[in-house]
Amino acid sequence: MSEFRTIEFYKTRESSSYRLLPFRFTSLDKDQYVLTNMSGEYLVSTRDKLLDLLQHKLSNEDPTYVELRSRHFLTDNNSSIAPELLAIKLRTRYDRLAEFTGLHIFVVTLRCEHSCSYCQVSRQSEDKLRYDMSSEIAVGAIDLALRSPSKNIKIEFQGGEPLLNFELIKFVVLEAKKRNQRRGKNLAFVIATNLALINEHILTFCGQHSILISTSLDGPKDLHNANRPRPGRDSYEKTIDGIKFVRQILGKDRVSVLMTTTEASLNRVREIIDEYLIQNLNGIFLRPLSPYGFAIKTKSYRAYNAERWLDFYKEGLEYIIDLNRQGIDFIEYYAATILKKMLTSEDPGYVDLMSPSGIGIGAVVYNYDGYVYASDESRMLAEMGEEKFRLGNVLEDSYEKIFTSPNLLDPLEESFAYSVPMCSDCAFEPYCGADPVFHYALYRDYVGRKPESEFCSRNMATFRFLIKKMEADKFIRQLFTKWANN
């Protein structure tokens, strides 16, 4: 038997011979830095080691050196496979772009029986002709949706309250299926509804066509009803009964629930989460308040800043982590979305955190009046008089004209975070999004000034918070890995 060699034999002699691969870094807290590479993998290091690394002085005996090599921040004479693995991961990350538009939102009516103060678009009106989508417009929208190169087409019905125009929903589902026959795409349908008008007839139809239900629950009864006034002040009761009804007829997994954060929510995150637990839901999306529509007009957006939302978010997330520690499986979906970007090569497809932005190419909106918008927020801006993101008209414009409209291409190109000042060298760019509509709404500019951007400061703080949490605690690291792959 010949001699075995020691591990020293397999190390490159000169440690200065390593080559840096593309990466960015930023401070994590007082003592530590976080480094991220192109595929979104991150590594936490002290400032001293980071400086050594950058000056090609880091010894290959240093434990950090081994981490840096195996996570593709550097390459040396011992291993040069990194670029190939990075390329695969990057390709996976951007895979979605080739699919183009998958989500097609049909605003079937603007009418609503609720009068929520933060609602961007709804109308209290009996005038069906004025605020309902016509079947002629619907057919045009269906044809545009089916032109998308995406194999999977999801049609989501929104409002107003879409169930006020259920006849059109039925028409769209049947017509889309008919027109899809020769194309053979995978068609899926969702109705976003407050459930106040749900009935057995509607649910039977949903069951027949595998239609999912998406609804809103803002928290405990008093909070929900204050947020969502309707005649009878019974929005909460209608929602809870509706959720039960949907589960009973369609199945437990056929209804998803979204929470809208308002100023009144900020001190009540635990109660909100408890309400979700009571309703037997297995997760919650602790969303930031959107700045659109009445939310801007009524100044309720400015009523609280990023910091107050972060306090709310952190308290909620800590509470949810504790629940999991007690053996209760419960997910926070905003964290799960970001963690998917941090811990996997998959893109979660969440429009607000996509770069290139998801407007138009991730989701597109066909408004009741036939106008096509780049996103849900875009049509809300239009309701406020800003038509910057109007891409064309279902009845007048071709697919090509709509999807190559400068109103789509310009914001997509100009807001691409990889080339945006400050984003381009931000360590968190792989986790963040472009969101040109948000920035345009607030700053009249697709990019905005990042130091002043509420979007930027909120997300940066969230990224730091999540990384620190999972670096500090193995349980959280495992939990977050599970969420990332959920």
Partner: protein, 383 residues
């Protein structure tokens, strides 16, 4: 542990060269078939006309002058109808090559290897042993077509290059529905052309088990004692997946791999998520492991929390992961979902302590080499 090969007293010698032969217990076969069967003889049977005769009786019965007669001991009482052995009348050696009733039929194709792993269970020899490959062709031809699965191992089978691919084609033609498990270090597949040739076999159920011992390239190279091994193995796996082949990653857990086990699993989840299976394997105390035991040994009970964490990483990423070669009393309950009874039947053993264990039926037991040389100090019967 079953005795798979040994030297036997030769009571009559007719053939000059070694040959493979299928065993039968039927003394009344048509004479045309007798000529290529070995009769596992009962005392009252007539062995005339058989190519070979395996008998426990010491005295020579009346046999044809052209039958080879071996006297077998109780060590070989496992032999049965349909098994295949290699007999060499000139030396008296017998080797069991195929046991019909075993799910663990692995064919050693070569003892040559371009790795020299610290814990190699089949230490490489640099001699021309290509007769093993020739024999494998013949052995495959003799196997019944309803064989569920077979394994090819080494050494490094791919060192044969195209002749290895020929063997796979031959196997698919002879045994079209038999699953094939191949143990390889994967480096040969760094050549995409070789990967394409492998894929061109178009076998419906063929899996390559390829080891990655660390996310740290240097540590992997050290464990396999070969510079540049890590990159070539990774490249090989990438090429195999490019041509849509099934790949299993195998990690042997020992003192040189345990510290980075969790990180290695994270590396696999981030970079090789598309592999079909990951096996986390306990150490077998045989081959090079014995001289290197101090360098390699760590009690499984002492690393059970690390094993749990590593399994959690793979499970959380939705990967298909298994824990092999461990005893139920040395692992945490949270890995039970991934626990497999994996040790080949012929080398599974239990300790005296295990006799009273209520979970013995579910336990994979120990390698016979572990029982003999080193096993966990924490083996304890469940009451």
């Amino acid at each position: 542990m079953l005795k798979l090969h040994g030297n036997l007293p030769v009571l009559n010698s007719a053939s000059r060269d070694a040959y493979l032969v299928t065993i039968t217990t039927n003394a009344n076969l048509p004479s045309v078939l007798k000529k290529n069967r070995a009769l596992l003889m009962q005392p009252d049977q007539d062995p005339k006309g058989y190519k070979a005769v395996l008998t426990k009786e010491k005295e020579r019965k009346a046999v044809d002058a052209d039958s080879d007669v071996f006297q077998i001991s109780d060590d070989y009482s496992y032999l049965n109808e349909g098994d295949i052995v290699r007999l060499d009348p000139s030396s008296g050696s017998m080797q069991s090559l195929y046991r019909k009733n075993s799910p663990h039929n692995t064919i050693l194709l070569t003892e040559q290897c371009n790795h020299y792993c610290l814990m190699c269970s089949q230490p490489p020899k640099d001699v021309d042993d290509s007769w093993l490959l020739q024999e494998a062709f013949e052995l495959i031809s003799l196997m019944p077509t309803d064989t569920k699965g077979i394994g090819f191992s080494g050494g490094e089978p791919t060192l044969y290059g195209d002749r290895f691919i020929d063997l796979l084609h031959h196997t698919k033609r002879s045994l079209p529905t038999t699953a094939i498990d191949i143990l390889s270090n994967g480096r040969a597949f760094k050549d995409i052309e070789f990967a394409k040739k492998y894929a061109a076999v178009e076998h419906p159920d063929m899996l390559l088990g390829i080891p990655i011992y660390s996310d740290d390239a240097v540590r992997h190279d050290y464990v396999v004692q070969s510079r540049g091994a890590f990159d070539e193995t990774i490249k090989g796996i990438l090429n195999l997946k490019k041509v849509d082949q099934k790949v299993e990653i195998r990690i042997v857990i020992h003192k040189q791999t345990i510290d980075r086990l969790v990180k290695t699993c994270e590396f696999i989840a981030r970079n090789l998520l598309f592999v079909d299976h990951v096996a986390l394997m306990g150490l077998e105390i045989t081959g090079f492991t014995r001289p290197n035991l101090d360098l390699l040994w760590i009690d499984p009970y002492e690393y059970k929390d690390i094993l749990s964490e590593a399994v959690a990483v793979l499970n959380n990423y939705g990967m298909n992961a298994s824990v092999y070669n461990h005893q139920l009393c040395t692992i945490n309950p949270d890995v039970l979902g991934n626990y497999r009874r994996s040790i080949s039947d012929w080398k599974t053993e239990f300790l005296d302590e295990c006799l009273s264990c209520t979970k013995r039926a579910d336990c994979g037991g120990l390698f016979s080499s572990s029982k003999q040389f080193r096993h966990s100090r924490y083996i304890k019967a469940f009451k």
